[in-house]
């Protein structure tokens, strides 16, 4: 069994290493990047590629000039293009079904090392206090600056995020779903326009999670749909919220283009159903 674990880990590291590149900008330091598809699409951090002239080195030593095709500095993402057709692309996972405590692996080029692997677990998921409100994969894994832009993978070697920064000893990675949206040129995410506060709601002998609407942003989708301060959201599409993050997931998963969202709520002690159109 010990041998199997070690072999499994070595295979995973090797596969990831092949799909991780070095990203160089002039004579500046080295960052990392992820081969997103074999035809030359590479994802890295926006802060790794401040200029337009960038070069990429693959794990087999090939050098490519790269063009920055798109960037989103808020989400710290950049898409690079190199002229190649045979790059070893990564397998992608999903960031929605991630669990706190599951194993993660980071590949990168920290401190002048090439293709170094770091092991840890998911520490938490969601926004980080003191940073702009967006979802992060917070990983209990030891990273260093050269890890920026490199992949964070799950136990099957599927990329679940791109390592972006270190905060209070934690590695913060942009979730893969955010990256896919960025690559499709979509807005970061639709917004409901409410501030919520988790509360316990007694329901048939037990407590369920309710999300108390503390504020409704004027002109927002929530206001258009008639949501009011004091409403307690309990489920979306008849699926009860188990954690506050579930509302965010429901918003993200609302089907484009109109992104309709079914919300069930308690108002004045009575259950109601409201349909919200997030993109009008």
């Amino acid at each position: 069994m010990n041998g199997a674990l070690a072999a499994n880990l070595a295979d995973l590291a090797e596969t990831l290493r092949r799909s991780t590149v070095k990203v160089r900008e002039g004579r500046h330091g080295i960052g990392s990047g992820v081969i997103w598809d074999s035809n030359g699409l590479i994802v890295t951090n926006s802060h790794v590629v401040q200029n337009r002239t960038v070069s990429v080195e693959t794990s087999d030593g090939r050098q490519f000039p790269a063009k920055v095709k798109a960037r989103n500095p808020q989400r710290d993402l950049a898409a690079l293009e190199v002229k190649a057709t045979d790059l070893p692309q990564t397998t992608k996972g999903h960031s929605e079904r991630l669990r706190v405590g599951e194993l993660v692996f980071a590949l990168g080029n920290p401190m002048g090392l090439t293709g170094a692997v770091a092991t840890g677990v998911i520490h938490a998921l969601g926004p980080v206090e003191g940073l702009e409100h967006q979802t992060w994969i917070q990983a209990d894994v030891r990273l260093a600056p050269g890890n920026s832009g490199g992949p964070l993978a799950d136990a099957r070697g599927r990329v679940i995020g791109v390592n972006s920064m270190i905060a209070r000893g934690l590695g913060l990675a942009v979730p893969v779903d955010s990256i896919e949206r960025f690559l499709r040129g979509e807005k970061e995410q639709p917004e409901l326009g409410v501030t919520i506060e988790p509360v316990a709601v007694p329901a048939s002998g037990r407590n369920i999670l309710g999300l108390l609407v503390a504020e409704v942003v004027p002109g927002s989708a929530a206001q258009r749909a008639g949501l009011r301060r004091g409403d307690v959201l309990v489920s979306s599409g008849r699926r009860f919220f188990e954690q506050p993050l579930d509302l965010l997931t429901a918003i993200r998963n609302s089907p484009p283009p109109s992104r309709r969202l079914e919300l069930e709520l308690l108002r004045g002690g009575k259950q109601q159903s409201v349909e919200v159109t997030l993109e009008s």
Binding site: M1, A4, L5, N8, L9, L12, R99, V100, G101, E102, L103, G120, V121, I122, H123, A124, Q138, D140, D154, A155, R156, R168, G169, L170, P198, V199, A200, N207, L209, E242, Q243, P244
Partner: protein
């Protein structure tokens, strides 16, 4: 399924399971600390992170907020016990620290469902903290104790609670107070509101004897008395400043820890024989142990 994936699933399941009894303790300004719902309505947290005695609330991982009252604190083991009647029954299982081995995979679980991974990096028998508390096992996990993690649980790979993590008992990393010690402290704090400790009422410093004195007294050194509280147990027994305490009930004293170890709560009110060196002579005095104020 690949073995790595199986391990990963097990770890996530362990965190989810233990996470149901890990809570946030809002008992200091700004950052909340962690706590463990130990028994129904009883939350254990660390003493050093609890900065207030009133207006404390507990937040569960599903976001429920309930008020809590301090049942007692034990700085010796860095534990504090809170009563929060608004909590449902906890659903936790405990691991026996005696069966833990060096290298076992463990996770620290903190408030708001957060976790860090590591292994048991040191484990040994009973020890005494710098604050005088007796702890059944010395457990040092190689896990990051992030801000707010003190008071949270150390769990094994099955999700069983090993004990309470604290960064307040040692420099350079956290230690875990094992479940057996936590149970003992919880019992005492719920019953009496405090953990009783024996008391002599002296200030001391360890000293070594010169070879000649070591030869005549039969002791290599002891604890020199720097202060003796007037009317305190040692003073009443005839101990004076400058005496060097060399044995307690027949056990040699070379360090303050040796004396601390003999002053458990069970000694209170009982009489012990103290041997001391005064003017080059070994004397014996009887002291009735008091209770630490």
């Amino acid at each position: 399924m690949a073995i790595l994936q199986e391990l990963s699933n097990d770890l996530a399941a362990a965190v989810e399971r233990a996470g149901r009894s890990v809570v946030a303790v809002n008992g200091r300004p700004r950052t909340p600390s962690s706590g463990v719902h130990w028994r129904k309505g009883v939350v254990v947290t660390t003493d050093h992170t609890l900065r207030q005695d009133e207006d404390i609330t507990i937040t569960t991982t599903v976001g429920t907020n309930v008020p809590a009252k301090v049942a007692g604190r034990d700085p010796g083991t860095d534990l504090a016990v809170l009563r929060a009647d608004g909590l449902d029954s906890p659903d936790s299982e405990f691991a026996n620290a005696a069966s833990l081995k060096l290298g076992h995979i463990v996770l620290a679980v903190g408030r708001g469902l957060s976790a860090s991974l590591g292994a048991i990096s040191s484990i040994s028998g009973e020890w005494r903290t710098w604050r005088g508390g007796a702890i059944d096992h010395f457990i040092r996990p190689d896990v990051s104790i992030y801000t707010g993690f003190s008071g949270g649980a150390l769990i094994d790979a099955h999700g069983r609670i090993v004990g309470i993590n604290t960064s307040g008992l040692s420099r350079g990393g956290g230690v875990t107070v094992p479940a057996t010690t936590v149970n003992r402290v919880v019992d005492e704090l719920l019953q009496r509101g405090r953990v009783a400790r024996g008391y002599l009422g002296v200030g001391m410093q360890p000293v070594r004897f010169a070879a000649a004195l070591a030869g005549t007294s039969g002791f290599g050194g002891g604890l020199i008395v720097l202060s003796a509280e007037a009317g305190g147990p040692a003073d009443k027994g005839g101990v004076i400043i400058g005496d060097v305490l060399v044995s307690f009930d027949g056990k040699a004293l070379s360090d303050i820890d040796d004396l601390q170890a003999s002053l458990g709560g069970d000694r209170i009110g009982k009489t012990s024989e103290l041997k001391l060196v005064r003017g080059g002579q070994v004397l014996a005095v009887n002291v009735t142990i008091g209770e630490r104020p």
